[in-house]
Symmetry: C2
Subunit: 325 residues, 2 copies
DNA sequence: TCCAATTATTCTCTAAGTGAGTATAATGTG
DNA sequence: CACATTATACTCACTTAGAGAATAATTGGA
């Protein structure tokens, strides 16, 4: 069907400067990359492979019914994890990765998947790592991390003071303040990607200085590195998830079937990287009718026993907006 | 760089059932598809090619610096339009479109682009069509369109009454009510994609009954058809744009450099398909400081002259959230 | 047994935001 | 100069969101 459109386009393009003489199909290899998130004892964690510095990924194959099922198959077969929720993140073409034939480019399609760590089956090699290992400046649950005032802020200010036009310097200072909540700005947890990109641009991310050996790069800001652009993809996933939990009930994909409201709150806090007001959180959850009581209570720990709840799957049909803002 | 990751994955996969023996690259051809939106005299319009039933699209080429610049190049050279704002929509692999060699699949990457119709240069063949030509049920500016109560609702209810389990029928009724604001539900303009998918699933969209000639399809609901899945891509774009204008100042990409507040309001209304309260709209725009006065006023029409405004481009740096909710 | 510590749960208060209506101002037209 | 028309300003009720205080039900030990 689409051939019609392409022919039309090429006929039109024939009058432009980018006209292509032939109808030869243009080839690329397609990679599927997954950011698989689960809650572990170490906090919000991501499934890593290799030396713990790579996201699961694999080529899109003919046997795959669709992109999404291809990804699902890869992750399930490799790690024994059933992915509950899958969402496409972004598609990009890496300019620097030309295949040997020169006629090949790599298209990477990245996904965010949510699961539970217990869904792990078998003993295959895998690694859950807290995403704050990769982004230590993103965890504000116990206040603004010291790394920001000790390392990030001075280095960004140094970068913003490099020789150049005054307007460039002011713009850099402004972007740094905005992204990291410096000066009067407030911290916005959804800016995870912008923060990573800013540090990358400032040369403070290890991945940014790989390959180009022109001059000695400045020592990078703390945070575990990843191969290729995987850390950027992870930052994209974090930003997307932090935004999404506010208007869609996706947190429950990370929860056990039955949980207390505090456990739910802790999960939301772990994802967003900041604490929430407990009574307000409860009010929000209950007035949205996201959960229903099981009738049971916990007895395991100290303090008053908490009621147990389960997710009301019916809300998925009932409403459009429902989340944990 | 990514080769590392892929090798790791394949080593792991070797223990799974989907192990692939070779490292042979998997090929696909990549199509870029653009939904180019502008305001014309006919309302919110989309750039169509061919018989007005196809979105501009073209293959991703080696000369393209990136996917986005590839798309930009295609559209600019074909239509003379400068695309201000480009945003990736979705990437999908069409199962039914296998290339002649059998070793080929088509990956389509769709984009939403915003421009102004006046940016048109030259006389190349092109066509602006109101997007309500394709989705007549989406325009609620003059009340609920009659097509909903006259055609959509009865046909959907008939579909929801087909033989099957009672739970299936109830679920269908519920989805129809939710998507189209029937019964007690209220209309939600952001559900454009869900509505199209529901009609498609119910066999009421012409594209849904193409190819399969098993039995006589029911007559489709009014609305211009498009080739392949282009109408679905357009629905995705509409939904995305209707959502986005609420929290990001993207409307201004569609506005002339200088405009009145009423013109801005009419544009927002045209996009969202519903009327807004004029005083509240003004209050919102002004308190967000999205615009600044030029000092001039209009003199062209009847009534009190309106102040002219221009977009404050500074807001793009200042804030994260800024829109026309 | 009873008090302290701990966690759960409910309420209140306030500020800010949103939806809807009303009033006033400035222009052109008959 | 009344009047239609569009622009602009103001008000009010209602809902939502942030923050703190108060009360309830447990466990662990003095």
């Amino acid at each position: 069907m689409l051939t019609d459109a392409r022919e039309i386009m090429q006929n039109q393009a024939a009058t432009g400067s980018k006209a292509r003489p032939s109808t030869k199909a243009h080839n690329a290899s397609v990679d599927l990359i997954a950011v698989v998130v689960a809650m572990t004892e170490h906090g919000p964690s991501v499934l890593a492979v290799g030396a713990g510095d790579a996201l699961p990924s694999g080529p899109f194959e003919h046997g795959h019914r669709s992109l999404q099922s291809g990804l699902r198959g890869w992750v399930e077969h490799q790690t024994g994890h059933q992915l509950g929720y899958i969402e496409q993140l972004y598609t990009f073409a890496d300019r620097d990765r030309i295949g040997e034939e020169g006629q090949q480019r790599v298209i990477s399609i990245s996904y965010l998947a949510l699961t539970r760590a217990e869904h792990s089956v078998g003993l295959r090699r895998r690694l859950w790592r807290s995403w704050y290992d990769f982004f230590p400046w993103e965890d504000h649950r116990t206040g603004v991390p010291t790394i920001i005032s000790d390392v990030v802020e001075p280095r960004l200010l140094a970068w913003a003071s490099e020789p150049g036009s005054e307007s460039l310097r002011r713009e850099r200072r402004q972007r740094a303040s905005f992204a990291f909540g410096l000066d009067g700005s407030s911290w916005n947890e959804e800016l995870a990607l912008q923060r990573y990109e800013l540090l990358y641009e400032a040369g403070l991310i290890e991945e940014a200085t790989r390959g180009s050996e022109r001059r000695a790069p400045p020592p990078p800001v703390p945070g575990a590195k990843m191969i290729a652009d995987h850390r950027r993809i992870l930052a994209t996933a974090i930003a997307r998830l932090r935004s999404k939990i506010k208007y869609r009930p996706v947190v429950f994909e990370l929860m056990p079937p039955v949980f207390t409201l505090l456990q739910l709150q802790r999960t939301v806090e772990a994802l967003s990287g900041r604490l929430v007001h407990k009574p307000n959180f409860r009010r929000l959850i209950e007035q949205q009718e996201l959960v229903e009581e099981t009738g049971e209570t916990t007895a395991d720990t100290v303090g008053r026993p908490a009621k147990l709840f389960r997710f009301r799957h019916a809300v998925l049909d009932e409403r459009v907006a429902a989340g944990t803002k």
